[in-house]
C-alpha cells in the first residue's frame, strides 16, 4: 500500500512537471505579426448557426480595410486577428483576455452573443481599459445601463428596434396583440421595448396572450396554431437569428401572414429571406437597419458591388456594421494622432463617418452609433428572385434611440 502510493505520487508529480514544462514552452509561441501595426482583435462565433452573421461582419470589415490600408493610418496598416468563441461566454472571455494580454491588441471587436459582449465589456474592456466595439449583439444593455467609457456599439439594439416597431404599429388600428418569441434575453428585450413604445403612443392596445419557446425551437407550428385560434388583431414575434428561418417557414406553412398582421424585427433581413427563396412569406412587416437595395444611392450601390465582387453575395446588416466599424476605427486613430487607447476613446465620441447609407455619428453620451431603421413589408421581387422589403419607411436614428437622459438614468440605477 505504501509503495503503491509512493509510485503513484511520483508519477503524478513527474507528469505535472512535464505538463508545466509543456505550458512554458508555449511561451515561445510567436505572437502574430511583429511589426507594430494597429492590431484589432475580433472575437466572434464562427461555428454553429450564428456563424453566418459573424462571417458577414468580418467580410464587411475586411472590405473597408482594403481601402483604409491603401492610405494607411498614422503611417501604419490596420491588421486584425480573429478568435472563434463557439457562442460560449467562457470561451469568449478566455479569447478576449488572450487578445488583450498576449496579442496586445489596440482595439477589441465582436460579437454576436449578447451575454458574451456584456461579459467581455465588463471583465476585459472596463477592467483592462481596452476599447471594445460591439458590432452585432443587440442587447440594449451594452450601451445602456451597462455602458461605460470603453465600450461602443456600431449595431442597432433592442431598444431601437422595439421603438421602431412600436412607432410603426401605433399608426395601425390594431388593438388586441399577441406577443411571442424566443425565450431568452433578446426576445424579451424586443418585446418589452416594442410594447413600451406602442403603449405610450397608443394607450388602448392590450396584450391578450404571450408565448415563449426555446431559442432555435424547430417546430413552431403548434405555437402558431395556438395563437391563431385566439384571433388576435396583430402579432409581434420576437425571434432571434436562430429561429428566424423557422418562424418564417412556419408562417408560410400555416398561411398566417394572410390571416393576421405580423411584425418581426429582422423579418426583412436578407440573410433570413435568401435561403427561403421564393418560399418566404409575403406580407410580414419587418424592421432592419440595412438593406443592400435601399436606399438606392450611389454610395450604397458602390458598397454592394464591391462586396459582391469580393465575396460573391450581397452584404447583410452585419457586413454593414463591420464596414462602418472599420471606418470608425481608422478615423478615430487618425483624429487621436496616436495609438493611446484613452485618446482613441475620446476621439470616437461624437465622431462622424461616411457610410454606405449616409453619414453615421457615434453618439458621445452613450457610445451608440446613430442608425436609422427601415420599416417594410415582405414582398417577392422578380428583379432579385427573392422576397425583399417593400414600401419602405425610414425612421432616423434620433427618432428611435433612447435619449441621453434616459441612458444616464439607467446607468445610475445600477
Amino acid at each position: 500500500m505504501r509503495r503503491k502510493g509512493r509510485k503513484q505520487l511520483l508519477g503524478t508529480w513527474v507528469c505535472l512537471v512535464l505538463g508545466g514544462l509543456f505550458l512554458c514552452s508555449l511561451l515561445f509561441l510567436p505572437t502574430q505579426a511583429l511589426a507594430r501595426n494597429i492590431k484589432v482583435g475580433i472575437i466572434d462565433c464562427y461555428s454553429g448557426p450564428p456563424a453566418v452573421y459573424a462571417k458577414d461582419a468580418l467580410n464587411g470589415f475586411k472590405l473597408a480595410l482594403k481601402d483604409i490600408n491603401k492610405r494607411g493610418v498614422l503611417g501604419k496598416k490596420i491588421e486584425f486577428t480573429t478568435r472563434d468563441t463557439k457562442f460560449k461566454v467562457d470561451i469568449a472571455l478566455n479569447m478576449a483576455k488572450e487578445l488583450v494580454m498576449r496579442e496586445d491588441v489596440d482595439v477589441l471587436v465582436g460579437t454576436i452573443n449578447s451575454g458574451a459582449s456584456l461579459a467581455v465589456s465588463e471583465a476585459v474592456a472596463k477592467k483592462e481599459k481596452v476599447p471594445f466595439i460591439v458590432w452585432i449583439a443587440k442587447s440594449e444593455r451594452i450601451t445602456g445601463e451597462k455602458g461605460h467609457k470603453y465600450v461602443f456599439s456600431t449595431g442597432e439594439n433592442t431598444a431601437m428596434a422595439g421603438k421602431a416597431g412600436g412607432v410603426a404599429l401605433s399608426k395601425k388600428p390594431y388593438v388586441r396583440y399577441w406577443i411571442a418569441g424566443d425565450d431568452y434575453e433578446y426576445g424579451h428585450a424586443i418585446a418589452n421595448a416594442a410594447w413600451r413604445n406602442l403603449k405610450k403612443l397608443k394607450p388602448d392596445v392590450k396584450i391578450i396572450g404571450k408565448s415563449w419557446w426555446k431559442p432555435g425551437e424547430p417546430d413552431l407550428i403548434p405555437y402558431i396554431t395556438s395563437i391563431m385560434s385566439a384571433k388576435p388583431d396583430a402579432v409581434i414575434f420576437c425571434t432571434g437569428g436562430r429561429s428566424m428561418t423557422n418562424i418564417m417557414k412556419a408562417i408560410k406553412a400555416t398561411g398566417m401572414a394572410k390571416k393576421v398582421p405580423i411584425w418581426i424585427h429582422t423579418a426583412t433581413d436578407h440573410a433570413v429571406l435568401k435561403p427561403l427563396g421564393a418560399e418566404a412569406p409575403e406580407g410580414v412587416m419587418g424592421t432592419m437597419d440595412y438593406h443592400f437595395y435601399y436606399p438606392d444611392t450611389p454610395a450604397n450601390r458602390a458598397f454592394v458591388s464591391a462586396f459582391k465582387a469580393a465575396y460573391g453575395n450581397p452584404p447583410g446588416f452585419p457586413a454593414f456594421h463591420g464596414y462602418i466599424t472599420a471606418k470608425f476605427i481608422a478615423k478615430a486613430f487618425r483624429k487621436a494622432g496616436s495609438l493611446n487607447k484613452k485618446k482613441f476613446v475620446n476621439a470616437m465620441e461624437g465622431l462622424k463617418i461616411e457610410g454606405p447609407t449616409g453619414q453615421i455619428e457615434m453618439r458621445s453620451c452613450d457610445h451608440q452609433a446613430v442608425l436609422p431603421m427601415y420599416l417594410g413589408v415582405t414582398k417577392y421581387s422578380p428583379k432579385y428572385g427573392v422576397v425583399i422589403s417593400s414600401n419602405i419607411v425610414t425612421l432616423t436614428g434620433n427618432e428611435v434611440m433612447p435619449s441621453c437622459d434616459e441612458i444616464m438614468k439607467a446607468r445610475q440605477k445600477k
Binding site: 505504501r2 509503495r3 503503491k4 502510493g5 509512493r6 509510485k7 503513484q8 505520487l9 511520483l10 508519477g11 503524478t12 508529480w13 513527474v14 507528469c15 505535472l16 512537471v17 512535464l18 505538463g19 508545466g20 509543456f22 505550458l23 512554458c24 508555449l26 511561451l27 509561441l29 502574430q32 464562427y46 461555428s47 480573429t82 478568435r83 472563434d84 463557439k86 460560449k88 461566454v89 467562457d90 470561451i91 472571455l93 478566455n94 479569447m95 483576455k97 488572450e98 494580454m101 498576449r102 449578447s114 451575454g115 456584456l118 461579459a119 465589456s121 465588463e122 471583465a123 472596463k126 442587447s139 444593455r141 451597462k146 425565450d183 431568452y184 434575453e185 424579451h188
Partner: protein, 318 residues
C-alpha cells in the same frame, strides 16, 4: 497510514515552488490560463471522485459547479452580505442541491442514473436561463466585484492555487481513508459489498455529496477568476467536457483528471489561436489517445514509471 515519503514529498514541494514563482516570470496571460486550468482541474478532480473511484455515471456534474457560481454572484451583487459569506455559501448550496438531486439518482444505476441526472440538471439550467429577474437569464451576471486582495491576475492566481492544493489534500485523504477504499469496493463489486453489510447507496450518496461540495468550491473560484456567471456553466456540454477530461487524463489515477483538464484547456486556447477548427483537432487528438494511450495520459505515464507489482495491483482493481 504512511502516505508521504521523502521522495514524493520533495517532488510535491518542488512543483509547488515552481507554481508559486512562475507568475513572476510568465506574461500575465499565462498566469491567467494556469489559474483557469486550476479551476477546471479542481472540477475534474471532484467529478473523478465519483466516476473513477466510485464508478458512478455522473453525467451532469457541472450543475453543482454552476449553482455555486450563481450563488456567489447573486449574494455579492444582490445582497449587502460580505464576500466571505458568498464564498462559503456557494459550496454549501451546491452540496444541498447535490444531495437533493443525487438522492433521486442513487436509486438507479449506470445509464439511468446518468439520464435522470441530466434531466434534473437540465431543469436547473432551464430555471437559470429563464428566470431573468433573478439570474439575468442568458445574459448572465457580469462584473461581479471582488475584494481587493484577490482581484488582480496574480493575486487571484495565488488564492486559487492555495484553495486547489488544500482541496487536493483533502480529496487525497478521503480517497486513502477507509471510506475511500469502501467506495472503490462499491465500484468494483457492489453485490459483495452489500453482502458484507455495507449500505452501498448511502456510501455512494455521501461520496456524491462530497464531490458536489468540491464542485461548488470550483464554482467559487471561477467567479473569482472571471467575475461573471452565465447559464453555459450549467449546460450539459460542459459536463460532458469535464467527463472527457477525466477519461483523457486517466480516471483510475489520482491526478489524471488534472492533467486532462490542463490538456483540454491548453488545446482549446492555443489551438484556437491558429485555427477555428480546433474541435476537429481535439477530436483527432482524442482518437489518437484512445488508440495509443487507452489508460489515459496519466495511466500511460504511471505504467511507465510504476513497476509490475503496482501494475498488477492497479490492473486487478479495474
Amino acid at each position: 497510514m504512511a502516505i508521504w515519503n521523502k521522495k514524493s514529498f520533495a517532488f510535491s514541494v518542488l512543483l509547488l515552488i515552481c507554481l508559486v514563482i512562475l507568475p513572476f516570470f510568465l506574461p500575465r496571460f499565462y498566469t491567467y490560463i494556469l489559474a483557469s486550468i486550476f479551476v477546471m482541474a479542481l472540477l475534474a478532480m471532484s467529478l473523478n471522485l465519483v466516476v473513477g473511484h466510485g464508478g458512478l455515471y455522473q453525467f451532469h456534474h457541472c450543475v453543482f459547479y454552476g449553482v455555486s457560481a450563481y450563488t456567489v454572484a447573486l449574494i455579492i451583487t444582490k445582497t449587502p452580505l460580505p464576500y466571505w459569506v458568498a464564498f462559503v455559501a456557494g459550496p454549501i448550496v451546491a452540496m444541498l442541491v447535490g444531495f437533493f438531486i443525487c438522492w433521486f439518482c442513487v436509486r438507479l444505476s449506470k445509464l439511468y442514473f446518468a439520464m435522470l441526472q441530466i434531466s434534473l440538471g437540465s431543469l436547473v439550467w432551464a430555471l437559470a436561463f429563464r428566470w431573468y429577474s433573478l439570474t439575468g437569464g442568458d445574459d448572465g451576471i457580469h462584473g461581479v466585484p471582488m475584494p481587493e486582495f484577490i482581484s488582480s491576475t496574480k493575486s487571484s492566481y495565488y488564492f486559487i492555487l492555495i484553495v486547489l492544493v488544500a482541496s487536493l489534500i483533502v480529496l487525497y485523504l478521503i480517497l486513502k481513508s477507509p471510506f475511500g477504499a469502501t467506495l472503490q469496493a462499491t465500484r468494483d463489486n457492489p453485490e459483495r459489498c452489500e453482502a458484507v453489510g455495507i449500505n452501498v447507496r448511502r456510501h455512494q450518496l455521501v461520496a456524491l455529496v462530497i464531490s458536489t461540495f468540491f464542485a461548488g468550491v470550483a464554482g467559487v473560484l471561477y467567479v473569482i477568476l472571471e467575475q461573471s456567471v452565465f447559464p453555459d456553466l450549467l449546460f450539459w456540454v460542459l459536463s460532458l467536457e469535464i467527463f472527457i477530461m477525466c477519461l483523457l487524463g486517466g480516471w483510475f489515477t489520482f491526478a489524471g483528471p488534472m492533467l486532462g483538464a490542463a490538456i483540454m484547456v491548453s488545446l482549446r486556447t492555443f489551438v484556437g489561436i491558429y485555427t477555428e477548427y480546433w474541435t476537429l483537432v481535439l477530436g483527432i487528438i482524442l482518437i489518437l489517445l484512445i488508440f495509443f494511450l487507452p489508460e489515459g495520459v496519466m495511466g500511460f505515464l504511471l505504467s511507465k514509471f510504476g513497476s509490475t507489482p503496482e501494475q498488477a495491483d492497479n490492473g486487478g482493481s479495474h
